[in-house]
């Protein structure tokens, strides 16, 4: 199974990369951009047959290692 | 070849023979057929194409490089190995190498520069030394063009990203600009290593039965044919499609590799080591066995690969980074694998040294290549390409500016301080960790670097200098002056110059004027080294720096290594001038030759005239005097005069020290002339008598020309003053590079 994990930066955490990208887009004339946020995607190939079981496991992986709760939230989607 | 993203786009395979696609000429192909007495296999062609490429074989320059002096009693390893090594006494050896990564940096600046750093570090720790410092000498087109800003930021980012993470401090360097580098940026990197003499390792294979163990990163399709494709070819509008050929570096992998290799050396577990750089496996297998008069049986099935289904050609051409080949006696193989495992790097026995003097490569149980090892390493053609002084040299020399009136000094100086090539480089070096290892006594922002050798009273001084403009106007005089300049900078830290490395960056050698430039720069370096008794212990030649028919300015970059024993504590620094100290000028009598000066370039956009020839006697006098002043602690500030002349040199000291200065002069051209073998000093009043004695004993003219104090930089001609506010000067100089990159 494929687990697609979105590591999402918490909005209250400063995002210098996001700020810089907005500035650069404005320099290029894309003034309609209001905000940018840098998140990450991790794709895991996981063995298992039950979507619920795999999702529960992957959530645990996020809690223990893949996401830092001080900085980030996470969202897991299981596919084939 | 199965990788579609590199060579074969837009080409109908049936029309262009494989050897040409790999960068080999028809004559070279015929040579190969004669050597093998049959048609070569694809794998064999691949190996010859990378080993005989310009970048690996130096086929256009080798004959001429023989001119360089390479011997001295303190040289342990001269040119021909992975790095030069000198004996610095007390059981310590220093290893030094300089290399270029120009073409990859144009294609992908961050990774091109990063992998350049990775490569040069490997060359040094392949010799048994711990890499302890890096220098970068980089050149770009003018910053008004956005692509040049992109390249500069990428290159500095790559050097910082890789150097900092791999844990080797970048302690000095230089950044230059000229229109001719716009499509051909130059990225030269120099690395210093330190080892106990017992630790020295050469690239030797050992006797038959020795195992070849491949250590480090997995082999992938990185940089396939980079050596033959990128480094040896000029660019044109289609070059963007060469992008996938650029290697990607992993500094963490390299750090682990460094520690693993140093442990192998310390425990005496290897006979020889060769790093996998350009020409990857082909070189790492062939060179050590060729040097030892042996052969090797290489089994590609044992090589740990990153991607499945790599064919033999890809594996033999791959330039995946962070890999080393260790030659290990069979009884030590298990221990070597254990060390690799501890450091979490992959290791595999991929070959065995044999009596036959061939490189025999097999895959899936079949022999895919079988060729004489020597032919790969020594069999590359040596071209004596035609050379001739270009017709435009005479015109260039007679193209001098006639000044009808004295220009506004303060205005001219401000313009020069605002020049990115002359202003502060802090924007760059504050991105480099330059303090790691706690050895950096004189760091970035000064002339030469001074590193202490912990556990001894010694210091190692290094300078790195290039000058395309000067060498364009006269390659021989320009290149010679670079050696003298580097040696003087080293002497001004209290060190005695000991060795030189050189990186020659030139255009297309198939043009007679470029070959002339190559021969002249080599001649200039040779003359200066002979005059100073300095051996060249290594070097690099980067040719084909040409785009759309336009060559770069001939740009030799010279590194000079010196030994200070004892190391002065504290050493002279640019920021130690104080109010009340005298400003002294040491050097030849006043000259007014402004050919090649920053002044003419910045204020009149003019480059012309013939630079003054160096003078070995004056050079030696300057070295002796500078060294004695530094060692004697007589001058808190010693600063050589180079780019920008006397005016810039004084301004740099005033800005660094935060104190104004007054310079008395008679002819304004003395302020901007860049003639060699001269330096300035800040001398406390109490030392002036002894300073005069040192100058006299060295045979160098010396005299006070002003003093430090006040809040302005003042140029005084018989009471007529031109003044710059020090704060304004400092801010301008500080922002020169920074503001153009905001």
């Amino acid at each position: 199974m494929i687990a697609r994990i979105e590591i999402i930066r918490r909005p209250e955490i400063a995002d210098p990369e996001g700020v810089t990208v907005v500035r650069a887009l404005h320099d290029l004339g894309f003034n309609e951009v209001i905000r940018a946020r840098f998140d990450r995607v991790i794709t895991l190939e996981v063995s298992g047959s039950s979507t619920e079981a795999v999702k529960a496991k992957v959530n645990e992986m996020c809690r223990q290692l893949l996401a830092n709760p001080v900085l980030e939230d996470f969202r897991v989607v299981i596919g084939e | 070849m199965s990788d579609p993203a590199t060579v074969e786009e837009d080409i109908t395979p049936a029309e262009i023979p494989l050897h040409q696609r790999l960068g080999l000429t028809d004559d070279e192909y015929d040579s190969i057929r004669r050597i093998l007495d049959r048609d070569p296999s694809q794998a064999e062609l691949a190996m010859y194409s990378v080993m005989w490429s310009e970048h690996c074989s130096y086929k256009s320059s080798r004959l001429h490089l023989r001119r360089l002096p390479t011997a001295a009693p303190w040289v342990v390893v001269g040119p021909g190995e992975n790095a030069g090594v000198i004996d610095i006494g007390d059981g310590w050896y220093a290893a030094l190498r300089i290399e270029s990564h120009n073409h990859p940096s144009w294609v992908e600046p961050y990774q091109g520069a990063a992998t350049g750093v990775g490569g040069i570090i490997r060359d040094v720790f392949t010799m048994g030394a711990r890499p302890i410092a890096l220098w970068d000498s980089i050149r770009f087109g003018p910053l008004g063009q956005s692509r040049n800003r992109y390249l500069l930021k990428g290159v500095v980012g790559g050097i910082a990203g890789y150097g900092n993470a791999v844990g080797v401090p970048t302690v000095g360097g230089e950044i230059g600009f000229a229109e001719q580098y716009t499509n051909n940026p130059l990225v030269n990197v120099m690395c210093l290593g330190l080892m106990r003499r017992e630790q020295l390792v050469l690239a030797r294979s050992g006797p038959p039965g020795t195992r070849a163990i491949l250590l480090g990163a997995a082999t992938g399709r990185d940089g396939i044919g980079g050596a033959s494709l990128l480094a040896s070819a000029s660019f044109d509008a289609n070059s963007g499609r060469k992008r996938p050929s650029v290697q990607v570096g992993d500094p963490f992998e390299e750090k682990k590799l460094i520690e693993a290799c140093l442990e192998l050396y310390e425990r005496g577990l290897v006979i020889g080591v060769q790093d996998l750089g350009a020409a990857g496996l082909s070189c790492a297998a062939a060179e050590p066995v060729a040097k030892s008069g042996m052969g090797i049986d290489l089994d590609l099935d044992q090589v740990h690969v990153r991607e499945p289904d790599m064919n033999a050609v890809e594996m033999l051409m791959s330039e995946s980074q962070e890999r080393m080949m260790a030659f290990v006696s069979p009884d030590k193989v298990d221990q070597v694998l254990a060390v690799a495992s501890k450091w979490e790097i992959m290791a595999a026995v991929v070959g065995t040294v044999a009596h036959h003097k061939e490189v025999r490569v097999s895959q899936y149980g079949e022999v895919v290549a079988r060729l004489p090892a020597q032919s790969l390493v020594e069999g590359a053609p040596r071209y004596e390409r035609p050379s001739g002084e270009p017709q435009w040299m005479e015109d260039l020399w007679s193209n001098t500016v006639k000044f009808v009136a004295q220009p506004a000094i303060a205005t001219a100086l401000m313009q020069m301080l605002d020049e990115p090539g002359l202003g502060s480089k802090a924007w760059a070096y504050q991105q480099y960790d330059h303090m790691l290892f706690l050895n950096t006594v004189v760091g970035p922002g000064h002339d030469a670097t001074l590193l202490r050798v912990q556990g001894t009273s010694k210091g190692l001084a290094l300078s790195v200098d290039g000058d395309g403009r000067l060498c364009h106007l006269d390659p021989r005089r320009g290149a010679a002056r670079l050696v003298y300049e580097g040696a003087l900078q080293v002497a001004l830290t209290g060190a005695k110059p000991m060795a030189v490395v050189d990186n020659l960056n030139l255009g297309n050698p198939e043009k007679t004027e470029v070959m002339w430039q190559l021969r002249e720069t080599i001649e200039g370096i040779a003359e200066a080294c002979e005059a100073l008794g300095l051996p060249v212990i290594g070097g690099n030649v980067s040719l084909y720096n040409e785009t759309d028919g336009i060559d770069i300015l001939p740009t030799p970059v010279v590194g000079v290594l010196g030994l200070a024993d004892p190391m002065p504590r504290p050493p002279p620094l640019l920021d130690r001038a104080e109010s009340g100290m005298e400003l002294w000028l040491f050097g030849t009598e006043w000259t007014i030759n402004l050919a090649g000066s920053a002044f003419e370039l910045v204020t009149f956009a003019h480059v012309g005239g013939r630079p003054t020839a160096p003078d070995p006697t004056a050079a030696r006098a300057a070295l002796q005097a500078g060294h004695a002043l530094a060692q004697g602690g007589l001058a808190p500030v010693l600063h050589d005069i180079s780019g920008g002349g006397l005016a810039i040199a004084v301004a740099e000291v005033a800005i660094a020290s935060g104190v104004g200065a007054t310079v008395r002069y008679s002819d304004w051209r003395h302020l901007f002339c860049e003639d060699p073998h001269r330096f300035i000093a800040a001398i406390p009043a109490a030392n002036t008598t002894r300073v005069a004695e040192v100058a006299a004993a060295s045979g160098i003219p010396a005299a006070p020309i002003g003093e430090f104090g006040g809040s302005e930089i003042v140029f005084d001609r018989n009471g007529v003053r031109a003044a710059l506010d020090l704060d304004v000067a400092r801010r301008t100089w500080d922002q020169a590079l920074r503001r153009r990159l905001a």
Binding site: E17, L71 | E259, E344, M435, R569
Partner: protein, 218 residues
């Protein structure tokens, strides 16, 4: 005589500098490989600077899983002095031994230069021999030196005089409530020799060593 463990992960690079500086102050400093799962007989622990595990995933994220972190956490709980310098600070945050986290410098560039820091509190084993208001000159050398602490539970014991990287409250060093676990972003060991620019960092290392000679706590 205090025995100080200086932990080495793959990718760590400041361990020799740290050991040397501690030894110059009379301590018995020893390198400890990250796979070691015991820290018996050590009076204090230092996590030095560098790029443990290549900073992969997040800086310090993988390092905090190493076997040595078990006994290190025990020592922290027992009030022994635990100091994280630069990368070490990042690891302590990831391990939950200090609140908050380190993110990219506001200017998005690596910074290597001297900075001035002001002591805010002497109630930490890093600053116990100093007094509030004291200014020290030590080198900063980091890309992810920007301290954030949304929960505001960290105790800032030193702060930058001029903001170099956007850190919350200009925090340069943060301590736990007990004062025995401290993370500092600039490098005290790099400010330990006048010849190289300043020896102000020695006072910080001396505070740490003084705490390690005493019993638990500060």
């Amino acid at each position: 005589m205090n025995r100080i463990a200086v932990v080495v992960f793959p990718g760590t690079n400041c361990e020799q500098d740290t050991v040397r500086s501690l030894r110059s102050l009379g301590a018995e400093a020893e390198l400890v490989w990250h796979r070691q799962d015991r820290l018996d007989d050590f009076d204090g622990v230092v996590l030095p600077g560098g790029f443990a595990h290549g900073d992969y995933l997040r800086t310090g994220a993988i390092a905090r899983l190493s076997p040595v972190m078990g006994p290190l956490t025990e020592m922290a709980r027992h009030g022994r002095p635990v100091l994280g310098i630069c990368n070490g600070f990042q690891i302590l945050c990831e391990a939950g031994l200090l609140p908050g986290a380190l993110i990219a410098n506001a200017g998005l560039a690596f910074i290597c230069r001297w900075v001035e820091v002001e002591v805010i509190s002497e109630r930490s084993m890093l600053t116990s021999l100093l007094h509030p208001g004291q200014i020290l000159k030590i080198p900063l050398n980091s890309y992810k030196g920007n301290y954030v602490d949304p929960g505001r539970s960290g105790r800032v014991v030193m702060r930058y005089v001029d903001d170099p990287n956007g850190s919350q409250d200009q925090a340069a060093a943060v301590s736990n409530q007990e004062g025995n676990v401290v993370g500092v972003m600039p490098h005290p060991e790099r400010g330990s020799d006048e010849l190289l620019g300043s020896s102000d960092g020695l006072a910080l290392l001396e505070s740490f060593l003084a705490a390690s000679r005493v019993g638990a706590g500060v």
